[in-house]
Symmetry: C2
Subunit: 248 residues, 2 copies
DNA sequence: CAGAGTTCTGCGGGTTCCCGCAGGTCCTTT
DNA sequence: AAAGGACCTGCGGGAACCCGCAGAACTCTG
């Protein structure tokens, strides 16, 4: 146990040094601490050092934490990874829980938590091999899987597709559905996002019926404002889309 | 000059204490340093202390830096504000230069710059009343105002409108244009964003013409990926939209 | 197996979008 | 004054969208 090593992947220098400090304080049995300043470098260092204990930021420039974690877990699924993020966006939570391997120990704590809880999380994950999810993140998971405005995975896929700007036809081709099925999915998405909201004025069915919103575009924005989508998710989806377009 | 006071507005505790350190090191003539941890609190403290020297983060939870700066400058247009941000998104740069009053001294430096340059910027702005814009930010400004994929203000407005999910009709009403004019603007936007890109396969005009993209939705995503839009800009535009909807 | 629930699919319409064509109003340039 | 450019506007058509209706196919339960 004396040769435990930890890899820190974090692009902000201040946060990185803070993490190093906290790690060495919380884990006296820790020998060397390696540092990477983006996801790409994180993958490389994890590979060369065969890191089993990683604490990593989401939202980095070169390659975000979810992408990096996926390739790392693909090579060694029993790696312990603690995600340390500023935000609990549903897009992040969903992205993480989508890639975590069966039985792997991982954690998700916010940067705003206290030092004590960070240290506790470090020990729980790296020593006890036990998952630690921050309360607020946990709450997000609940709301996500419950159907209170919760999206199934397939609905989420289609939401990404319209965010990318695909046509109904293109979505149907990509997801192997009929055109009408795609439109049905869109209907559910629109209702779950409550996109039909207009001004709460008199709802008289007068001639002045206001079709203020283009539902397709509106859905994307509402999803962004609700943190269902964010920049990282868009970037990732865009890469996958390009990959798919080549094979057409 | 001995009673100079500085107000720091920054939500991250680590960055905040780092800023305090740098400010007191760079400005020995500085007496008190106040701190706020979000834009709303920043506005309040700026008002009560009549702060003339502010260094402030963009992208905060309660109210982002641009909003806060606008209300502060509205009350006292000769306030010196140094924006200290992680990113040089065109949305931020454009948002800042849209609200800076005539003749006001302000600065925009990235968090990734060296301590020396940060200190230099602090002295230049607060002592010499001189604008300091980081090189990378400056480059963004150039690209933005040159028409190399640069958007005029009116085009930018319409881009925001379709991002919000408005219909052509609604945009026309809102911006006092005819329906056709809005559609013309959209045409320009589509071409400037180069949204017509399909797979670079054989461009034969065969029957299998691929209309893969819904231009309207695609434009929004491309704008986001190019940092022309970001979450803060969306949030702000959404608030303005709600305000407009009431008056309808 | 019957029946109820959920999802997939086609049809058809009304509406909105995308955009070429053409005429109009304001400029600036020579 | 004439010629050119930049912008706004109406017309019209083909395509894509939004969505109600209604029949298949699949599941789940008793």
């Amino acid at each position: 146990m004396m040769d435990m090593e930890v890899l820190i992947v974090e692009d902000d220098p201040l946060h990185r040094s803070y993490l190093r400090e906290q790690v060495s304080a919380a884990l006296p049995e820790c020998g060397t601490i390696h540092e990477a300043e983006n996801g790409l470098q994180g993958e490389t260092l994890a590979r060369t050092h065969r890191s089993m204990h990683i604490v990593m930021d989401l939202q980095m420039n070169a390659r975000n934490g979810i992408e990096a974690a996926r390739t790392i877990w693909r090579e060694r699924p029993d790696t312990c990874i603690l995600f340390w993020s500023s935000y609990a966006d549903e897009a992040y939570v969903r992205g993480v829980s989508r890639i975590v391997p069966n039985g792997a120990a991982y954690g998700y704590v916010l940067k705003s938590t206290s030092e004590e809880r960070l240290k506790l999380a470090l020990r729980s994950i790296f020593i006890e091999n036990q998952c630690v999810i921050d309360n607020e993140v946990r709450g997000m998971q609940q709301r996500s899987f419950a159907q209170a405005s919760g999206f199934s995975d397939s609905e989420y896929e289609i939401l990404m597709d319209i965010a990318l700007g695909l046509t109904d036809r293109a979505i149907a081709d990509r997801r192997n559905l009929s055109l009408r099925s795609v439109q049905n999915r869109l209907q559910q998405i629109y209702s779950k996002l409550d996109v039909h909201q207009t001004n709460p004025s008199a709802r008289e069915p007068s001639a002045r019926e206001d079709a203020v919103f283009n539902l397709r575009a509106r859905a994307v924005t509402v999803a962004m404002l609700r943190k269902l989508l964010n920049y990282g998710a868009l970037e990732k989806a865009e890469a996958e889309l390009r990959h798919w377009l080549r094979k057409q």
